[in-house]
């Protein structure tokens, strides 16, 4: 009796079957699809327009794909578009931005990570006060500091020069990056730090040999934040540089907003896409690390 009821496996068994086309799924995927299209339409329009010639654009069908694909606007945006008297396209701005971004990212992350490490592990006297001041700095609107910094840079002889802008980016990256690193380092078990001290490692030994190798995700997060932030910066770029040293964003604005002559929509779109390409690439490359780092910092922050 007991045996037969054990062997009888009629009725529900195993995973519950689910219909692929159900009301729930239609609503769920439908909504996601609509939202995704809504977000991607502007990008689509930009890409399509940048591949059209001017006559085709004048027809006014902004959603239609190009009849005749041309890369002329991209070439023009990169190397021929005019801003003021210079007619060498965005390429100059691109290289300026590279020269600004790489040192700013490197220096700001190097300093901030050491700050964060010292604050998290070497609770020196006044560490809390120092940290509070730094965090307070993160909440002061940039506008307040613009003019004093102009004077400061002028006195240092760095105004309108690239090193000046690099200095500005390094300073403004400090509060948020220090917070990021401090919070990450506090999640590393304290016993590891103690063990390294018993093993005779000093301040730098622990930083380079124990802490840094364990913190690659948070370095990736910091790099993504800084590269996108500095690359996309417009305000500091327009204030602390001059036409020769304008970063790409400022130059893009000058191309798109020029008032003389015909509006070359295709060139403008291509120029915009070119400018956005760098942060986008960084995002795709480090996407996974980025999410991991953010999560690691968030859960136990």
């Amino acid at each position: 009796m007991a045996n037969s009821s054990l062997l009888n496996l009629d009725g529900p068994r195993g995973p519950k079957p689910r219909k692929i086309i159900s009301r729930r799924n239609i609503i769920l995927y439908g909504t996601l699809l609509v939202v995704a299209i809504y977000y991607l339409i502007p990008l689509y329009v930009m890409i399509v327009t940048s591949l059209k010639g001017m006559p085709e654009i004048r027809l006014g069908n902004i959603f239609s794909p190009p009849v005749e694909v041309t890369f002329e606007p991209w070439v023009k945006a990169w190397s021929q578009a005019c801003t003021g008297l210079n007619c060498d396209g965005l390429s100059r701005g691109f290289w300026n931005s590279v020269k600004i971004t790489i040192p700013s990212v490197f220096v700001s992350i190097a300093i901030a990570s050491i700050n964060g490490y010292a604050l998290a592990n070497w609770r020196f006297k006044g560490a809390n006060l120092f940290f509070t001041i730094l965090i307070f700095g993160a909440f002061i609107p940039y506008q307040i500091m613009i003019y004093p910094l102009v004077i400061l840079l002028r006195d240092l002889g760095l105004y309108t020069k690239l090193p000046g802008l690099i200095l500005i980016h390094t300073i403004f990256g400090m509060p948020i990056l220090t917070l990021l690193f401090r919070n990450y380092f506090t999640t590393i078990p304290e016993e590891l730090f103690k063990a390294a001290r018993v093993d005779g490692a000093g301040f730098w030994g622990i930083y380079f040999r124990v802490m840094m190798p364990m913190s690659l995700p948070i370095f990736a997060v910091a790099i993504v934040l800084q590269v996108t932030g500095i690359w996309n910066d417009f305000l500091f770029g327009v204030i602390y540089t001059k036409p020769d040293t304008y970063p790409m964003t400022v130059q893009l604005n000058n191309i798109v907003n020029s008032v003389q002559g015909v509006k070359e929509y295709n060139v403008n779109m291509a120029a915009t896409l070119l400018t956005g390409l760098v942060p986008l690439t960084i995002y795709f490359i480090s996407g996974k690390l980025f999410v991991r780092g953010i999560a690691a910092g968030a859960v136990k922050g």
Binding site: A195, V198, D199, G200, V210
Partner: protein, 364 residues
């Protein structure tokens, strides 16, 4: 010879006093266990000895040298942590040699020491692995190895077995004991597990609120606890405390609160000083010193009890009962059949009991 001397050690975290005026001397080759509930200051004391915390006051000597201001690496200590604290990005070999490289030792010497330590701990086959690829027991072995290669006089263990499962814990416990017998180093071992303390220690220091309540060999701590807290902390199942009074005419008589059919004579209990007046006391009675059945008849004190609850534990069965309204636990042989409501004859010898003052809870 003295290995470690701690003189008048105090430590405050801001307003909070963690250790106060603590004195402790540890002989060379001794295995000392610091035992206490969490928050009693035992780990803090260990961190002070290691030099990982700055002390507020007092001195620490290791091997006759005042190391109060020395860096952890220069104190001649090796430390093993609860969470293993292995460097995750280094191989086992890298973990073992990290401290030696920092000390600037020659390559051949490092090789030699790593080889020696890995032989002792049987981790030779794991040397090229990363910690993530090791089991808990293997990780802890590597952590012990990291202390071993430093070739130091003093080993500090901070709850090294607490993260392991019960079976591994007993295995590694024996290994640590073997290691101590082989190396004969001074070892200080922090734990909240009284079984670890009893099995490993030459001497146990029971701590509470930053003070050492009793420092003695395990047998003395178990059989003659200095106060009620120590008695209650050591032993599983825990000691019974019976509230009552002692009156003294020609011999000391215990009177249980809530009544007892006969008042037991405590004259073969070794009082530290004889009782003159009537006194409120706790009578501490370990479950295993309560005898049952025929053996109970031969005890100086015996009486009968009714079984309320019983817990079979294999070798023994733990019986819960009440006497004069107070709870009492005792063991019967695991093969005896016990039922709820049975009446058992039990007895004990006052010589094996502990009596504590009701007020200050000190041993009488």
């Amino acid at each position: 010879m003295k290995s470690i001397e701690i003189k008048k050690l105090s430590l405050n975290f801001g307003e909070v006093v963690v250790l106060k005026d603590l004195n402790l001397t540890i002989e060379k080759g001794e295995f000392l266990v610091l035992l206490g509930a969490s928050g009693c200051g035992k780990s803090t004391l260990l961190n002070c000895i290691a030099g990982l915390l700055d002390v507020t006051d007092g001195q620490i000597f290791i091997n006759g040298k005042n190391v109060t201001w020395d860096e952890p690496a220069h104190r001649g200590i090796g430390m093993v942590f609860q969470s293993y604290a292995l460097y995750p990005q280094m191989t086992v070999k890298g973990n073992l040699s990290f401290g030696l490289k920092n000390a600037g030792l020659a390559k051949e010497e490092i090789e030699k020491r790593v080889k020696h330590a890995s032989e002792i701990l049987q981790i030779e086959s794991l040397l090229e692995r990363k910690p993530a690829a090791l089991s808990g027991g293997q990780r802890q072995r590597v952590a012990i190895g990291r202390a071993l290669v430093r070739d130091v006089e003093v080993f500090l263990f901070d709850e090294p077995l607490s993260n392991l499962d019960a079976k591994l814990r007993t295995e590694l416990r024996v290994e640590i004991k073997r290691l101590h017998q082989k190396l004969n180093n001074t070892m200080i071992y922090v734990t909240h597990d009284q079984i670890e303390a009893m099995t490993l220690a030459d001497r146990i220091a029971v701590m509470r609120d930053g003070l050492i309540l009793q420092l003695d060999d395990p047998k003395t701590i178990y059989n003659a606890p200095a106060n009620k807290y120590v008695a209650g902390f050591i032993g599983s199942p825990g000691i019974n405390f019976l509230k009552g009074t002692i009156s003294h005419n020609d011999k000391p008589i215990f009177k249980l609160e809530g009544g007892w059919c006969e008042s037991p004579d405590l004259s073969n209990y070794k009082f530290q000083e004889s009782i003159k007046a009537e006194k409120q006391v706790w009578l501490g009675l370990r479950p295993e010193s309560v005898m049952v059945g025929d053996e109970a008849e031969n005890m100086p004190v015996n009486f009968s009890l009714e079984v309320e609850v019983f817990e079979p534990m294999g070798a023994d069965t733990l019986v819960w009962s009440k006497i004069g309204g107070q709870e009492i636990r005792f063991m019967v042989d695991g093969n005896t059949s016990v039922n709820v409501g049975d009446t058992l004859t039990v007895g004990f010898d006052p010589a094996h009991a502990s009596i504590f003052d009701f007020g200050n809870e000190e041993r009488l």
